[in-house]
């Protein structure tokens, strides 16, 4: 008897301990019986080609938006701007579901698919890159809608940076929300602008002249900004970004030893001699704010502005870029194929592209701080155009000057390189 009780205790602890690995994925199978697929999921049917029918169907729905919830200021922006407008204009309730990592939403959709749960729980996901790759690979995205949104007219779909997501064709499966570009942050109270490194080669020289004062985020899960930093170095060392837009194993085999050589030489000059690296942007930001290192990193178009407004960075922080190879990209929203409220999700995706909200999203005081997804030149309404142009000029000193951003901008490498870089860095730099 005692044995059984003991075994039960052990099993229960194992169950508790394994929760993130196994229990979550099996949960829907165990607890939610598959919903009959013939039951109508949406009370009102709609035709995507007739926008009014979408809005009629969406009225009264609640849209479950799975969105990375790690930033209080972004959460507040979403609730105060989109939440309010959805309710007032379309009678839609926004249910923002904060997640720690977008892969959680991806796993939710995958488990729903495996359990046969249709309709599922997710209406809209803030997504890009590898998570889009996963859902596209599994064929779990609602197809053929992004370019049918009325506000899609403002999006420059001919731009390869928009119609390819980490090199993977978007194929009308996701609609852009905002843009971002890798930048570095320094404290103007600690150093002058003319001392700043302006290339990866400079960065190494600077780091070795100031041992222990530089760090970058470890590439890998959660350290996506670090992966991007390493890719930039790959571009500089190989002397060009375009060749990396399509996957070429021979090219990788040729340049990757050079890349690891650069980072290994850099390593001994880094914070804690490169014994470990900041795991994510927040950790690097802390080190920077605590005066342990002299550079932080950001993807925000507002540069250091959002961090300053949130009290996380000193007010004298400024963003800057190298002269070339600073990767920029767009991020998107996608609708799972088993979304219960597709009409409301479409209405929200369309609202994100509304010029007035695009103008609001780049202002540091609103707390979002990412750039436009729309092409300002396509906006014809003069008031909206004026608002967009005014917003760009209000970014202030803490942002990288727009011309610097544009001059250094390059597109991302093909998605196949993502794992090669992250795993290669782990094995050739961190573990060496």
């Amino acid at each position: 008897m005692k044995r059984i009780v003991f075994l039960l205790v052990v099993l229960t602890m194992l169950l508790a301990a394994c929760a993130p690995n196994t229990a979550t994925s099996a949960q829907p199978a165990a607890t939610n019986p598959p919903v009959a697929t013939d039951a109508p999921a949406v009370p009102g049917e709609f035709d995507i080609n007739n926008w009014d029918s979408v809005l009629v169907a969406a009225k009264g729905q609640t849209v479950n938006w799975y969105i990375w919830g790690g930033s209080d200021s972004i959460n507040a922006f979403v609730d105060n701007f989109y939440g309010v407008a959805l309710k007032e204009r379309y009678g839609i309730t926004l249910n923002r579901i904060p997640i720690a990592d977008t892969v959680d939403a991806v796993n939710q959709v995958l488990s729903e698919k495996q359990a046969g749960a249709d309709p599922g729980a997710v209406d809209l996901i803030w997504i890009n890159g590898e998570n889009f790759f996963t859902l596209k690979q599994a064929n779990l995205l609602y197809p053929d809608w992004a370019q049918k949104l009325p506000n899609s007219q403002y999006v420059n779909w001919d731009n390869p940076a928009i119609n390819r997501d980490f090199g993977n064709p978007v194929d009308n499966l996701e609609s852009p929300w905002s843009s971002a570009q890798l930048q570095l942050v320094y404290d103007s109270a600690r150093m002058n602008a003319d001392e700043l490194p302006r290339s990866y080669a400079d960065f190494k020289t600077w780091a070795c002249a100031h041992p222990g004062r530089a760090a970058y985020v470890a590439p890998g899960a959660g350290g996506f900004i670090g992966t991007r930093f390493v890719k930039g170095a790959l571009f500089e060392i190989s002397g060009g970004a375009e060749q990396w837009a399509t996957f070429d194993q021979a090219l990788w085999d040729k340049w990757s030893p050079e890349l690891w050589k650069y980072f290994n030489e850099l390593e001994s000059c880094l914070w804690r001699n490169g014994e470990t690296y900041p795991k994510d942007e927040a950790e690097l930001k802390n080190l920077f704010a605590n005066n342990e290192v002299d550079f932080s990193m950001t993807n925000d178009i507002t540069g250091a502005g959002t961090g300053i407004a949130a009290g996380l960075l000193p007010a004298t922080s400024r963003a800057f870029v190298f002269n070339n190879y600073m990767i920029g990209d767009f991020n998107y929203v996608a609708i799972p194929s088993n979304a219960p409220h597709k009409a409301a999700a479409l209405a929200l995706a369309n609202l994100l592209l509304e010029p007035e909200f695009q103008a609001a999203q780049i202002l540091p005081e609103n707390g979002f701080g990412l750039g436009y997804a729309i092409d300002v030149n396509r906006v014809t309404d003069s008031a909206a155009l004026a608002a967009l142009e005014a917003a760009s000029t209000k970014l202030g000193d803490s942002a990288t000057p727009a011309s610097d951003l544009a001059n250094s901008l390059v597109g991302d490498a093909a998605p196949e390189y993502q794992n090669l870089i992250e795993q290669g860095w782990l094995e050739n730099v961190l573990q060496k």
């Binding site: 052990v10 194992l14 229990a23 099996a26 014994e275 795993q423």
Partner: protein, 289 residues
């Protein structure tokens, strides 16, 4: 009375058994299927042992890190279990010798059990990291020059932070188990030994230890199994490399490429098997007593 079917142990265990069998059983079946490469959403319907073969032969992305991770997991789990068992024994013996004022002792032992592991490890991080409170205080007091001179106690290569966390969390847990045993034992054994001239150490070794050994062993094995298979503490207090097995498993389970999930699941099942072996050993030990 005992023979009435309602009082059969299986019947009274039924609710717990049902939950464990359904939840754990379904997870296990699903996990085993995925570790064998079954992933119907991307059209993979054939079973293969590739994930396991790669792990054990050290091939592929997950395999190359697997043995190192396993060694690191064992090191952290065994070190934490041994240190916390030894210290818990001392604390329990010390407390049981000063019989009487139970309230304060219980509070001292119980207060940190109330903190979830997650909260406790974040607290450790805030106190002990190089930009943490202690580092700042030490720098302000002039003991070290800058906060960065503070020794690396969390997020370190050797798992010191993780071990510190588990030791501080598990000492009270194990001490309470030992204390419960000690308090049911008559003080006579100890007094007789003392009268016969046994030293303090001899009494601990030949009187107290045999009394508490079965409970301590079961408790220690539980603690080992828990540490070996838990994720959040190594994720928060560990470094990117080496990683404990659960952190490695989740890394591959969350890989953008769905085919990598088999590796993550295979690692999870290796963890499960090791924990089950530990449980079986502890049952065997319990039988011998």
């Amino acid at each position: 009375m005992r023979s009435h079917p309602l009082f059969s142990p299986w019947f009274s265990l039924a609710p717990a058994l049902t939950i464990v069998t359904v939840l754990l059983g379904a997870s296990l079946v699903y996990g085993v299927a995925q570790s064998l490469g079954l992933m119907s959403v991307i059209g993979q319907d054939t079973l293969s042992l590739d994930a396991y073969r790669n792990l054990f032969t050290g091939q592929g992305m997950a395999g190359r890190e697997f043995w190192g991770s396993l060694a690191f997991s064992l090191w952290v789990s065994i070190a934490s279990t041994l240190i916390s068992s030894a210290l818990a024994l001392l604390v329990a013996v010390w407390l049981s010798e000063r019989r009487g004022s139970g309230g304060a002792e219980n509070l001292a032992l119980n207060w940190n059990l109330a903190f979830p592991h997650l909260v406790w490890s974040v607290a450790l991080l805030l106190f002990l990291s190089q930009s943490g409170l202690l580092a700042r205080w030490a720098a302000a007091a002039g003991i070290i020059q800058t906060p960065a001179d503070f020794p690396v106690l969390v997020r370190d290569r050797y798992g010191i932070g993780i071990t510190l966390h588990y030791v501080s969390k598990e000492i009270p847990f194990l001490a309470l188990i030992i204390l419960a045993v000690l308090r049911t034992q008559p003080a006579g054994y100890d007094l007789v030994a003392e009268n016969l001239g046994a030293s303090r150490w001899q009494r601990l070794r030949y009187v107290t230890l045999p009394q508490v050994a079965p409970a301590l062993l079961s408790g220690a094995l539980l603690v080992f199994a828990f540490i070996f298979s838990s994720y959040e503490v190594p994720a928060l207090l560990g470094v990117n490399y080496p990683r404990m097995l659960p952190a490695l498993a989740l890394r591959f389970f969350n890989d953008p490429d769905l085919r990598s999930r088999a590796d993550g699941m295979a690692i999870s099942l290796v963890i499960t098997v090791i924990v089950l072996i530990v449980a079986a050993v502890s049952l065997k030990k319990g039988e011998q007593k």
